[in-house]
Amino acid sequence: MSSIWILPAEAISPQARIAAEDFLVAEAALLDDRRFDEWLQLFTDDLEYIVPTRTIRRRGNGSDVDWSSRHYDDNKASMSLRVRRLTETDVAWAEDPPSFTRRLISNYRYAAGPGETELTVKTNLLLFRSRGISGQHDLIAGERTDVLRLVEGRLKIAKRHVVLDQATLGTKNLGVFL
């Protein structure tokens, strides 16, 4: 897999790029519209959904992404539980009344693989979140790395890693999906 994320045009077909982009834009719309049951269908059964923490380090003092400490450390079963909490109960207080969210997905970068039928897509995420009547909002920014897999003719998300751009999150909880 290329580490610089700039590939010769022939490596990823325009059709594949358009399909991936349309897929991720539609996925974001499902989240913003809070259609969580449909959203969950977009994941493969072997989903890996991980959000590492960030730390403040001098240059030369190791990585500022700490994969051993995680904001999300989930698979399909736990994401299903999170979705059931939101859709099947009326006591998911953190998101009821729900936040208003708007996800902006941009700066698409593609790489083939890692699997035969897989495509890796890096994107920038800017998530606007507003709760209550205060007129305030939280902005959650980060870089997603998604592995999209072709399953029976449809794209699904097999892996999502989101590296957030704050060492201390400025939102009171991550009750919204990234």
Partner: protein, 435 residues
């Protein structure tokens, strides 16, 4: 000395309205800015505060940067092997010596003018020292870093600015018996860096919640029962409520008709070597374990949702760092037995992250309450009347006489005894009563 404008008026109001023994606490204390000034000075300025775990500082020169109240401190293992806590402040103009979260260093060189301090606190020199401070340079002793007292218990490192206060074991008191079970039953390690996030809440609300409030789980965390993961209300009721004195409190969920927590066989010999038979028996009975070391270090064994079909035991350490009267920074860590098999560490981490963390299914709902309580508390700052809150649950209950552990232990978790004790300790410190 006090930084509060009219301390006597505030003391009188606190004396008249904070009445924990009657189960009465006034709303204003949650977020009042003058109360907060007093807290920074008399509470965070004096009591033992959690700063780090020994596992973070195994290497010589290893350091982490933490907060004591609003003050930045460096916790470091010096080249002499000793762990110390220093104010993160250069003795020249007060610049921060380091802005990293952690690192390894034999000395810190101030980024402003270059004053340099060894990792054991000594002033080492500064550029062109004899030219700048002729003829002999600066006095080494006078410029030592400002150091807090630092001690550890069960791997947990605490520090205090109070040179003459109680020792750490005396400060922890009866809580030690329970902390042994939580953090001292085996050699433990903190995994990775803390997750941090900002909650617009008074720092006291979550601290009190972890010390004393099992009752909220049936409502605030009702999703568990709704999804069939627990049997109704009993997950927050059955067990013990402990007022450990000194403002420390905890609750233990026990259902004797069902098996208790499950631990890997490999670790049992270590538990047995470190715990008394009574502590070991209790460890195997508890389903969950929550508490707070006064004032703001919470601990938890969540054991609520299946991870790959197993109810493993994930452990959490959580610091509620004040960043203003109505804001806090949560610092959250996964704590695990160092000698545990890899699968146990991995499943435990997932249990912790999925239940209690920035994105945890429980934590999310709690933040909603604490934020709204804090907002409401701000209304008490201008109201003509005194809004009093009810803290009477279990006021007439008698502690068990045959429980093997110390402290006032109540049968059943529905009690606010530990919250009353929390505010008694808090009030005495603020008013400097008994000093």
């Amino acid at each position: 000395m006090s930084h509060v404008t009219h301390p006597e008026k505030l003391y009188d109001r606190l004396r008249a309205t904070v009445r924990p023994e009657e189960g009465a606490i006034p709303l204003f204390v949650y977020s009042d800015p003058e109360v907060y000034r007093l807290e920074l000075e008399r509470l965070f300025g004096r009591v033992w505060l959690f700063v780090a775990h020994e596992s973070e500082l195994e290497e010589e020169g290893a350091f982490v940067v933490r907060q004591m109240g609003e003050q930045s401190v460096i916790v470091a293992r010096g080249d002499d092997g000793e762990i110390r806590t220093f104010l993160n402040a250069c003795r020249h103009r007060g610049m921060k010596l380091t802005s990293e979260d952690c690192g390894v260093a034999s000395m810190w060189r101030c980024p402003y003018h270059g004053f340099t301090f060894a990792n054991y606190g000594n002033f080492m020199g500064t550029p062109f020292e004899r030219a700048a401070y002729p003829p002999n340079g600066l006095d080494r002793e006078r410029l030592r870093l400002i150091e807090a007292r630092c001690e550890s218990y069960a791997g947990l490192i605490f520090a205090t600015w109070d040179k003459d206060g109680p020792s750490l074991p005396d400060f922890l008191g009866d809580l030690r018996w329970y902390l042994d079970i939580f953090a001292g039953r085996a050699q433990m390690e903190l995994v990775g860096e803390a997750q941090r996030w900002i909650i617009p809440s008074s720092w006291k609300l979550p601290s009190e919640n972890f010390a004393s409030d099992a009752y909220h789980t049936a409502t605030a965390h009702a999703f568990l029962a709704r999804l069939g993961l627990v049997r109704g209300v009993d997950f927050g009721r059955d067990g013990y409520h402990v007022d450990a004195g000194g403002g420390h409190g905890l609750g233990m969920g026990v259902h004797d008709d069902r098996p208790g927590s499950w631990f890997p066989q490999e670790l049992e010999p270590e538990y047995a070597a470190k715990l008394s038979p009574d502590q070991l028996a209790l460890l195997h009975r508890v389903k969950n374990f929550h508490g707070n070391v006064f004032p703001n270090l919470s601990f938890l064994i969540p054991n609520f949702i299946p991870v790959d079909g197993q109810l493993v035991t994930g452990m959490m350490l959580r610091m509620w760092q004040p960043v203003g009267p109505d804001r806090l920074m949560a610092w959250s860590w996964f704590l695990v037995e160092k000698n545990a098999p890899a699968w146990w560490k991995e499943k435990g981490r997932r249990m912790y992250v999925q239940t209690f963390s920035s994105g945890g299914m429980f934590d999310q709902d709690d933040t909603e309450n604490w934020e709204a309580q804090t907002e409401v508390a701000n209304s008490a700052l201008t109201r003509p009347d005194e809004v009093m809150l009810d803290y009477t649950m279990g006021l007439d209950a008698t502690p068990l006489s045959d429980f093997p552990g110390p402290g006032d232990v109540y049968d059943g978790k529905f009690s606010e005894a530990a919250a009353r004790s929390y505010y008694r300790t808090w009030l005495d410190l603020l008013l400097e009563e008994g000093r």
